[in-house]
């Protein structure tokens, strides 16, 4: 889109930032420029995290036919408005900050302290390369996707530090299980992203989002999720994201009901809250990447809806992804560890590898038009759907459908 037709709201955040930067002397401007970007990311996603927790609690409550937190009003104002309990996360933050911080006597003090700090720091790094709007991207990198995954790689290290530093058998065992899960699902996650890179031909998130612009007949968006390989990759990406961020149904690492709390057993107070913060940040960053890669990034779904600023579209899609994940948490049951690893290695990894070939096929046949276009869609669909059913049949042979011997059917 040409700058002339750009809505003024598209550039409004940038104009505001430049206005603040210009208030400072020239030698300090680069520093202020970067600090403002960092502060905005921290504020926006800190608040996003706070309201994700309250949204999650309320939605889960509604799914379970409860009301959820609805009591916290405004401080120093008795019988004031309740605001539907929306101030709950701030009360929770104060609670977590004022709680006692218990460190086990035998713990490795340095690692025990370093683990929650590192995990939050690394989970925030991914936000740097997400294109939040047409002109809004904190850091423009040529190898942005690689950076995103490199930044996320260190969270495994932090979990290991938490488990080992606690000097507790349960913590260590649970940390090893969590690592096995993270490493197993790293592979389908990365493999599901590669077809996008192959088809678009770049690792830059900005270009990938821009490549999904345009509409067929003015209302069918060219998002990657609306292609056979894109849909398959997106579904694999969703499952892998759930597992990577320890969300239900893959929340074995800190399954509250069975393992006391996994690698978080020896953490209390704000350090415990930091782990959860990192989990939500990681989930949000991965959802943002999913939106960028498959759901068109900041692109509007229809041409006539383009008057809404692109960053609002991005945040809307991001919120939609988060709500979807909360819905999944309220719906599905937790897997066993053997089911979890089997799902990854025997099902998702082969499918993701096949989908890689599918992406290559799609990238090689952009000039198939007319009836050949139908053949292109058919072949591409067959490449993923046929193995999906064959693999599913083979893996569930003798195990599904389940027969309930003792429960009345």
């Amino acid at each position: 889109m040409s700058p002339a037709t750009d809505h003024y709201l598209e550039r409004a955040p940038l104009v505001l930032r430049d206005w603040i930067v210009d208030l400072f002397p020239a030698t300090l401007q680069w520093l202020v420029h970067n600090l403002i970007t960092i502060a905005v990311i921290l504020t926006v996603f800190g608040l996003f995290f706070a309201f994700t927790t309250i949204a999650e609690r309320k939605l889960l409550a509604r799914l379970q036919n409860r009301l959820g937190p609805n009591r916290s009003g405004l401080p120093w104002w008795k019988n004031g408005p309740k605001l539907w309990g929306l101030t709950q996360p701030f009360a929770d933050a104060v609670k977590a900050l004022t709680k006692e911080d218990v460190v086990p006597a035998a713990a490795d003090k340095v690692l025990h302290f370093l683990a929650p700090v590192l995990i939050v720091a690394f989970s925030l790094l991914g936000f740097a390369v997400l294109p939040f709007g047409r002109h809004l991207i904190p850091v423009e990198l040529d190898a942005a996707l690689l950076y995103f995954f490199a930044a996320g790689a260190a969270t495994e290290l932090a979990i290991f530090m938490a488990g080992w530093g606690s000097r507790n058998k349960y913590s260590l065992l649970a940390a090893m299980r969590a690592l096995a899960q993270l490493i197993s699902y790293e592979l389908p996650l990365l493999l599901s992203v590669v077809p996008v890179v192959m088809v678009v031909g770049t690792l830059s998130t900005k270009d990938i989002a821009a490549a999904q612009g345009g509409w067929t007949f003015g209302f069918l968006p060219h998002w990657h999720v609306f292609t056979p390989w894109g849909l398959a990759a997106f579904l694999i990406f969703l499952v892998a994201t759930l597992a990577e961020s320890n969300r239900s149904p893959f929340d074995l690492p800190e399954a509250e009901s069975e393992l006391i709390a996994g690698h978080l057993t020896e953490y209390s107070g704000f350090k415990y809250a930091l782990f959860f913060m990192a989990e939500y940040f990681g989930l949000t960053a991965l959802s943002g990447l999913g939106v960028t890669l498959f759901l068109g990034g900041w692109q509007a779904p229809c041409a006539f809806l383009e008057f809404i600023p692109s960053w609002l579209w991005f945040m809307g899609k991001l919120a939609g992804m988060i709500v979807f994940f909360i819905w999944v948490r309220g719906t599905l049951l937790r897997l066993r560890i053997d089911q979890l690893t089997r799902l990854s290695w025997k099902f998702l990894v082969p499918l993701a590898l096949l989908n890689l070939g599918n992406g290559a096929f799609w990238a090689l046949t952009p000039d198939w038009t007319g009836p050949l276009a139908l053949a292109r869609w058919g072949i591409s669909t067959a490449i993923v759907v046929v193995p999906f059913f064959l693999l599913g049949r083979r893996l569930t042979a003798g195990q599904a459908p389940r027969s309930y011997r003792y429960a009345p059917s």
Binding site: F149, A150, G152, A153, A154, W164, L179, I183, E186, T202
Partner: protein, 169 residues
Amino acid sequence: MTIALLLIALVILGAAAAAMLSRNLIHSALLLVGAWAGIAAFYLWAGAEFVAFAQALVYVGAVSMVVLFAVLLTRQGATSAPVEFASWRRAVLGLVVAGGVMGVLFGSIMGSPLDVRLPAPPTGISVQQLGLLMMGPYAPALLIVGVLLTVALLGAIVIAAVDKPEDTP
């Protein structure tokens, strides 16, 4: 820029030295990861963005896990490794090997031209160009490394997948 390089070098060398001096194997492994992260920072300083991220992804993310798992699975008894060497013969042999490696390294460093004012490297090589180079002129190297890693992987599976009689039902 030079100050940044000195800082990075200090972090790498400091982490590596602390890793060698630490008597706690887990601490050594984690410090080693710190050194690898420092090397990634050095690549970033040198303008090799792609290599830096690949270094972080592979070493900080994956190889560190292999090292930590290996330490945890093979560690016997206490965490502290023995401080004194087993025998004088071993100590002398160790010194000879270390001296030999150091000599070779110093020889190659001293033998290479130390004029750092080389013509400015072509900056802004995109990942796409890098990929085309890897798939074109340097494809044999990539293939050889791939075959090597596949062989290592198969070897690991063969070693690990021994069916013990008690495992079979």
